[in-house]
Amino acid sequence: MIDNIIHAALIMTTPVLLAALGGLINRTGGLVNIGLDSMMLVGALVGVILAAGHGSWAVALLGAGFAGASLGLLMSLTITRLDANEIIVGLGFNIVAAGLVRFFLKSAYDTSGTLSLPDVTRLPRWDIPVIADIPVLGAIFSGHDILTWLAWTLMPLTVWFLARTRAGLRLRAAGAGPKAARALGLDPLFTRDASTVFAGFMSGLAGAYLSIGVVGIFNEGITAGRGFIALAAFYFGRNRPVMTAVGALLFGFFDAFQIRLQGRGVPAELVQTLPYVMVIVILTVIAVSARKSRGARL
């Protein structure tokens, strides 16, 4: 029972964590990415198409990441080079991507909403020999696929990247002081574009995780707003990788619980609101404490 919940929660965490780390890098570089969900959706579709007919899962992952990255590049160029508002463009990308995906499914596969292809290669899950039999530990460490491992490896790497590398410093400079960065001879717009491409790549992977990692088919509602949950996660974590991962894990647990609670009298719809409520609460708490530390009266 507890093992099942832990395992399910970790599975639900992976796509959110992948996209959230991408979005975190993106926001550190100065761009709030509302379009993560669109990149996830396109990644999920590309992933399942490439993995169909005994395709290679590695190729499928790369393709999905590349598709998400391309979308990210387009979005970033619109924002950085055409001075378009990031929120509007992000929302617009979500609408266009959802429309294009459904249009494509109807035109190319003559199906509406769901695409079920034969012989989809699923992401292999790796069982670790001894640990797999230990309760709790087995559920945590064994039976996961490459993307779950990637997501959790990237979390400390992101901490290190932001704090200790030259590129990480430049990324933070591009976000915190683009004018100063420019005066130092850096190119903050290029850095910002690169960070959006990375966010797109990660979201594409997250999408592929949902389609070829979890279910093996594609559905137009497959992301279920997880791109926005990822947004919630890095807002929850205040752009810090560790806290963002904690947020993603928390939302993963909500997701796993919500499935269990269905049919037990606890309305799943109310559990679904929790991530979003938590973000509003966290933002409020941050603002109140910031105001107190400035010594102002409420």
């Binding site: 509302i34 929120i87 609408i95 035109s107 933002l283 603002a287």
Partner: protein, 352 residues
């Protein structure tokens, strides 16, 4: 971030050309890109577009259904514009549409003993009221604590959708009904139809009245002037003695009220109950409407009619040809993106 749509000061004379180009360019680009999508899928874009045009404006009946489809978009466009012009980036109108629609339906099927003179206005007031209340939290957070309203209103959209889904699946589910919908509203609560055999109803007249009101208000009312100044330059407005946070709070609430009305009119005039997911993104399309209309009352009306035309003709062309209706979403989203892009950057080098 504040000045997404700053309504241009309404001067006389020569300044007509630039806004016209700025309005038509995003539309044109979207049409061109969507044409490429259509070509790739093996359709003739010109045929599709002319079919769209005749299907939406070809006869009185089709015009009526275009206006009916435009009705909720006029509300959501105005709701978005009224917040944007004050510098409050409210992307939460979608949530207001949902809670407002449920509130109107609730009054409509609960207080059935009231006469039509009372029931219909009561239901509309309930919609506006609940929409207003829905914006109290982000409004307070924005004006008192400077919490980013984009994030809070975006999150509230998801909360609204889930919360209303919970209510219509549980406490407010129609007896004996398996799908997530409230009972039908009383006949007295229905908005009267304006034309036999079409869905055009009195909600459109309310929307028109609001457009005129918004135009007068923006042009002559002190508050209309203050909001515009606050949206264009908050520091100047503060220095001039305006209470900018107070203005932002008021306009967020007003935006919520109009968004709630959008849901109320949709529930009382079209669906006659609240069904989970009954808004096909009216709130988000409202953002595109407000942007394309450049925050101007008549611009918003025209943009809403345009998007209404797309929505209603898109449904018909899917029946008569094999062009998927999603071409409409693709167009709407691209208009939204291009409306905020500054294309002059391409041929003018950026200032260092």
């Amino acid at each position: 971030m504040a000045t997404v749509v700053s309504p241009a000061p309404t001067g006389r004379g020569t300044v007509f050309v630039k806004p016209l180009v700025e309005t038509l360019l995003p539309l044109l680009l979207a049409l061109v890109l969507a044409a490429i999508v259509l070509l790739l899928a093996g359709h003739n874009p010109l045929e599709v577009y002319s079919l769209l045009a005749t299907e939406s404006f070809g006869s009185m009946k089709r015009i009526a259904s275009t206006l009916a489809a435009a009705t909720p978009l006029i509300f959501t466009g105005l709701a978005t514009a009224i917040a944007f012009r004050t510098g409050a980036f409210n992307v939460g109108v979608e949530g207001c549409v949902n809670v407002g629609g449920l509130a109107a339906a609730f009054v409509g099927f609960t207080f059935v003993s009231l006469s039509g003179f009372l029931l219909l206005p009561a239901a509309l007031i309930a919609a506006a009221l609940v929409g207003t209340l829905w914006m109290v939290i982000p409004g307070l957070l924005k004006s008192r604590l400077d919490v980013d309203e984009v994030v809070t209103t975006l999150m509230l959209n998801f909360i609204a959708v889930s919360l209303t889904a919970y209510l219509v699946n549980g406490p407010l589910l129609a007896p004996g009904s398996a799908n997530s919908a409230t009972p039908m509203i009383a006949d007295a609560a229905r908005l009267p139809k304006l034309m036999r055999g079409s869905t055009l109803n009195a909600g459109f007249l309310i929307a028109l009245a609001l457009v005129i009101l918004y135009w007068f208000w923006g042009k002559w009312a002190a508050l209309g002037f203050e909001t515009r100044i606050a949206g264009m330059n908050a520091r100047f407005a503060t220095a001039s003695g305006m209470n900018v946070p107070g203005l932002v709070f008021k306009m967020m609430l007003l935006s919520g009220a109009i968004g709630g009305l959008a849901g109320g009119v949709h529930a009382l005039g079209n669906v006659f109950r609240y069904v989970s997911g009954f808004s096909p993104g009216y709130g988000f399309v409202g953002i595109a409407v407000a942007l394309l209309g450049r925050g101007n009352a008549w611009g918003i009306l025209l943009a809403a009619i345009l998007f209404g035309a797309l929505a209603t003709s898109g449904a018909t062309i899917q029946l008569f040809s094999d062009v998927p209706i999603e071409i409409v979403n693709i167009l709407q989203g691209m208009v939204m993106i291009f409306a905020v892009a500054r294309f002059s950057n391409i041929w003018r080098r950026r200032k260092a």
